[in-house]
């Protein structure tokens, strides 16, 4: 019975506990504490070494085992942290399924993270996919529709993974993680496995052709569920891709599989997929008018950065990619919390029907401010560090075009989070929201805690970089050279050290000067929020001067020709094709005479036999 066993058992116990006790407030409080307890147990596991669980069973001559290393540890910490904050945030939620689903998700994710061979990886993968359903169905009818779409996509991905694992087994005769490394395969076999496994896992990650399901599925459900799903759920795909790259096809192999001879390798393809996954969903997010959907579309775009960083597979890039998982999870969680506290108080997240809530919900505003700075990747929040690492790696690898693409993506992020901020908290307050109160403590306290975490890990990224370095060494990379304030570039040819403490000091001295200037001018006067005038006219509260409909009209006009719903079209084409095939197969059962087919089979077999 080591710490890993204890962790898994506690997690399973949490599931049982949630099934029985989540109806009462005390039960939900204890449940939140249980996630904290799991986190404490997690810290008993040494992230630097591999820990093998004593659980394991044998089935059809395959020994299934569970083990934990630095990478699992890193992801497990984010999972448990997200679950802790989500559960706290959801203390007032009566829906039992939410709490059961949350604990079931955590448990299945922990099993996935500790998978010790391909079969247990797949089993846990499917469990994660299906337990995700529990969290997605908590909204209105639309969430059910989104979930059906999700599960179709997820199972399609899962089946691709299944095929890949079956192929590994039939080619190598083993399901252990070292099966492929010990029995090298041919290049075409590597290519097949790469398509099946990376393709299958990237469905969860919502990389480009498979991204259409994610926004609705994550956003339209209940708040705490969205927080958890948005923060970590999709990243399980990233974890599995890392496992694939570690045990099946490493980047060197991917780089030797040419899709266009001598020009374009599989790795280039994946890099471009990641780059496009940054741009397209981000600009789709820009078009959303529902705050929840806007955030969820961002989640897809941010996944591109992580993928991009990992595909660099160097010290800095992979550190950036992994660190972004952590940073993004915290930012997305706080943003969803803020948006759902607006929903909790006003009953809507439609950006066209909000505005001016800053004075009514200042803590939520603060949380969102911290979140969007982090999400946009600006100092002093933690998002900056990871994006900086990814950029740094792209530049030092000489990938200028991809770098440009990711900068365009960041630009889109800044624009859209500004839209989010402006249309919800800034601008004119609507009359119906005049008496809105701040969200309850159970919601604001976790938001504030997360804001502190985002700021601290932004100023002192060394804290999170330590975890990243452990993860890196677990997957066989040289760990990033870090210190409390940032990183030291290993490659001294390009100077590129980062010390966030200095950056923040410079930044805050700038803020300080600005504040001095502002206060010394002393001309501000406090007025009531509904006391507005524009263009010399007094406005009463029923006149809207704030434009939030058709935000960024000019920009939209420019990018519209580039965005022709081509993926939606593709999805529709696949569905139509399947429907057409279904109509054909139905026509077989609609025949008045059915016997000819019997004769066809018999005759054909006889003919073949005689020939």
């Amino acid at each position: 019975m080591n710490a890993l066993d204890l962790l898994l058992l506690t997690s399973l116990g949490t599931v049982l506990f949630s099934v029985v006790f989540s109806a009462s407030l005390t039960g939900r409080m204890l449940l939140t504490m249980l996630y904290a307890v799991q986190t404490v147990i997690l810290f008993q596991i040494d992230a630097g070494t591999e820990m093998v669980s004593s659980f394991g069973f044998e089935i059809f001559n395959h020994a299934l085992g569970l083990s934990f290393n630095g990478l699992s540890w890193f992801f497990a910490l984010i999972t448990l942290g997200s679950a802790f904050f989500a559960a706290w945030y959801g203390l007032n939620q009566q829906q039992k399924l939410l709490h059961v689903g949350l604990s079931a998700n955590v448990f299945s994710m922990l099993v996935l993270l500790s998978a010790g061979d391909f079969l247990s990886l797949f089993i846990a993968w499917e469990l994660v996919s299906w337990s995700g359903v529990l969290l997605m169905v908590l909204g209105k009818q639309e969430s059910l529709v989104a979930t059906l779409k999700y599960i179709t996509y997820a199972i399609a991905g899962g089946m691709a993974v299944f095929a890949g694992i079956i192929l590994i087994y039939s080619w190598t005769g083993s399901l252990a993680f070292n099966a492929v490394t010990e029995n090298p395969l041919s290049l075409s076999q590597y290519g097949t496995l790469a398509i099946l496994l990376i393709g299958g896992f990237s469905v969860k990650m919502a990389l480009l052709p498979f991204h259409l399901w994610q926004a609705e599925a994550y956003a339209l459900t209940s708040g705490p569920a969205s927080v958890f799903l948005g923060a970590i759920s999709a990243r399980m795909g990233l974890f599995a891709i890392v496992i694939t790259m570690m045990h099946v096809v490493d980047l060197k192999t991917l780089d030797s599989i040419f899709l266009i001879p001598e020009l374009f390798t599989f790795r280039d393809f994946l890099i471009w997929v990641a780059a496009l996954s940054i741009i397209l969903p981000t600009y789709t997010a820009l078009r959303q008018n529902d705050a929840r959907l806007l955030l969820a579309w961002h989640g897809i775009g941010q996944g591109g950065y992580m993928m991009l960083g990992l595909l660099m597979y160097d010290q800095m890039g992979s550190a950036g990619g992994l660190l972004h998982v952590f940073n993004y999870a915290s930012c997305q969680a706080i943003l969803f919390m803020s948006v759902f506290s607006i929903l909790h108080r006003t009953g809507t997240t439609n950006l066209n029907q909000l505005g001016g809530l800053v004075a009514r919900m200042p803590l939520s505003f603060l949380a969102m401010l911290v979140g969007i700075i982090g999400l946009a990747g600006l100092p002093p929040m933690n998002g900056f560090v990871s994006k900086w690492l990814v950029y740094r790696s792209l530049l030092s690898d000489g990938m200028a075009i991809v770098f440009l693409a990711s900068v365009i993506g960041t630009l889109g992020t800044i624009l859209s989070v500004y839209k989010l901020m402006h249309n919800s908290f800034l601008g004119q307050l609507r009359v119906e929201h005049e008496h809105v109160k701040e969200a309850p403590w159970s919601m604001t306290v976790p938001m504030m805690l997360l804001a502190i975490i985002i700021f601290i890990t932004g100023v002192m990224p060394g804290i999170s970089l330590e975890l990243v370095a452990n993860a890196q060494s677990a997957i066989g990379l040289t760990p990033v050279d870090y210190h409390l304030g940032g990183v030291v570039s290993a490659n001294s040819a390009i100077s590129g050290d980062l010390d966030m403490i200095w950056v923040v000091l410079v930044l805050f001295s700038g803020f300080g000067i600005a504040a001095i200037l502002f206060l010394s001018a002393g001309k501000s006067r406090r007025v009531h929020q509904l006391d507005n005038y524009a263009g010399g006219h007094f406005l009463n509260a029923n006149n809207q001067y704030q434009y939030s409909d058709n935000f960024y009209a000019g920009l939209m006009h420019i990018i519209k020709p580039w965005y022709r719903y081509s993926f939606k079209w593709f999805e529709g084409a696949v569905v139509s094709f399947v429907n057409l095939a279904a109509v054909f197969s139905r026509s077989f059962f609609n025949q008045a005479h059915m016997l000819i087919w019997m004769l066809v089979v018999v005759t054909t077999v006889m003919a073949v036999a005689i020939i």
Partner: protein, 492 residues
């Protein structure tokens, strides 16, 4: 003890013959007798199963093997017979009638059910091609009669469905008879063990043609691809429990007949390819049709077509891997499909009518979701392991095309099964239809199936061992031949 296994075939026949007469004197006795007989047969089968004497050959009338008819009793046939009887007991028609004319009719139904059970047992045990044909026809005739029973006079479709089924089935029988004639032409025998010794005579175009004829002939009940167009009609028209019994259990016995034909008459790759192709076609056509279905019963009927396609694909894999995978898929489907049809007992109509039912009837919708998950193959439920064995076997033969089709159709399956779940837990603001709850016994049966599936997860190693034993027995043709042909000459 050995010889008493034949009572599982004979006693239901005896009671079936006498039941209409008994029923005229005592309706109570007519209702009570069949379950008693079933329990008695279950006890006999279980005793033989436990006695470790299996496998053995039972020479009926003590006539020496190739001349007389042989019942070959091994683990697989005992298990099949056991499931036939147990499922019959649980799915037994239980409605009692007040009017005497209705009672007479319902007695006839009990009698037909007993004939169905007896013929299914015969199919499980018999080791003679023509004897199988006879039992198969008995099964068919009993089925036609059972389909035509319905107290709901509005359901006129049942006669048309039964007639169309009869035409397909009888044509199939003609084909099977032709196949038997060809086999007899070539070998002069119909005993499987004897045929196995004559395989050199059968390995030619005529042998393959005979196999194809037998395949389409016996494939009708096994829902094989080109002869399965009766499936949605009959299952929609018949009572849902009967449909569950036909789809879940009876179809498996026809599969067993085909497997015997494959192993003893034409164990060559051509036959396996034929089964693979037809199985794939059935899988595709079933899943695709189910996807567009608006009716719950029809949806699960098409899903059963697809699952039987999967069974054929599995058995087409040569060697032990194929037999193990096939048996796993077969037994899994037996449980799952029966549970689904039990659910359809009350929810058999339009799927859109089910909206919101899940909140009213949490147990049944929970059972539905669990069973659907197992059917799809969510690990670690048994459905996953059966699929795992199947895909492993296919990968071993490099049938990558088949793997791709199986996985793609799984996605379709998820889509339509969870469309139902979405309707069950729909949050639309429509009034929920006041559908009656399922009868407590149906709920109990479905719950028992769920329990059995869960226990199967714990007992996977045991099941795996049993599957290996069964496949060993099935594949060990040499000792089969010895048991059937030689042992009696020495022993008696």
């Amino acid at each position: 003890m050995k010889h008493y296994i034949i009572l599982t075939v004979i006693l239901p026949l005896l009671v079936a013959f006498l039941l209409p007469t008994i029923g005229r004197f005592s309706y109570f006795l007519a209702r009570a007798l069949p379950p008693i007989i079933l329990i008695f047969s279950i006890v006999i089968t279980a005793c033989v199963y436990n006695n470790e004497t299996a496998p053995f050959a039972l020479h009926i009338g003590d006539f020496v093997a190739p001349q007389g008819i042989v019942f070959h009793v091994d683990s697989i046939s005992l298990l099949m017979a056991l499931s036939v009887q147990v499922f019959a007991l649980f799915l037994w028609p239980r409605r009692s009638f007040k009017l005497q004319s209705e009672q007479i009719v319902s007695n006839k139904r009990y009698s037909l059910m007993l004939l169905l059970v007896a013929s299914a047992n015969g199919l499980a045990f018999s080791g003679d091609l023509f004897n199988l044909y006879v039992f198969y026809e008995l099964l068919a005739v009993a089925t036609f009669g059972l389909i035509s029973f319905d107290t709901n006079e509005a359901n006129q479709a049942r006669f048309a469905a039964a007639f169309r089924y009869l035409v397909i089935s009888a044509t199939g029988s003609v084909m099977a008879l032709l196949g038997i004639a060809l086999v007899y032409f070539l070998t002069g025998t119909l005993n499987f063990a004897h045929l196995a010794t004559q395989q050199a005579n059968l390995f030619n175009p005529i042998g393959l043609s005979a196999f194809a004829l037998l395949l389409v002939g016996f494939g009708v009940k096994a829902e094989l691809f080109p002869v399965n167009s009766w499936v949605p009609e009959v299952y929609s028209a018949a009572s849902k429990k009967l449909s569950g019994y036909l789809a879940g259990v009876i179809s498996k016995l026809a599969v067993l007949v085909i497997i015997k034909a494959l192993l003893f008459i034409f164990p060559h790759s051509e036959a396996a390819y034929l089964m693979l192709g037809l199985g794939l076609a059935g899988l595709l056509i079933g899943e695709l049709s189910a996807m567009r279905s608006n009716d719950f019963t029809r949806m699960i009927s098409w899903s059963s077509v697809a699952q039987l396609g999967l069974v054929f694909i599995a058995f087409s894999i040569p060697g032990q891997a194929g037999i193990i995978a096939g048996l796993a898929v077969l037994f899994h489907h037996m449980f799952v499909k029966t549970a689904l049809f039990l659910i359809a007992e009350k929810w058999g109509g339009r799927i859109s009518d089910l909206h919101g039912q899940g909140y009213l009837n949490l147990i049944m919708s929970g059972i539905f979701i669990f069973v659907a998950l197992s059917l799809i193959g969510l690990p670690p439920l048994p459905g996953f392991w059966s699929k795992f064995l199947l895909l492993n076997g296919l990968a071993g033969q490099e049938y990558y095309f088949a793997i791709a089709i199986i996985l793609i159709t799984t996605v379709i399956e998820v889509n339509y099964l969870f469309r139902v779940a979405n309707h069950l837990f729909s949050r639309e603001d429509k009034p929920v239809l006041p559908i009656n709850n399922h009868h407590w016994f149906d709920t109990l049966t479905a719950s028992l199936i769920v329990v059995a599936l869960i226990v199967a997860v714990w007992e996977l190693p045991t099941i795996n061992d049993q599957l290996i034993i069964m496949s060993d027995q099935l594949l060990d043709i040499e000792s089969y031949v010895n048991r059937v042909l030689i042992s009696t000459e020495n022993g008696l």
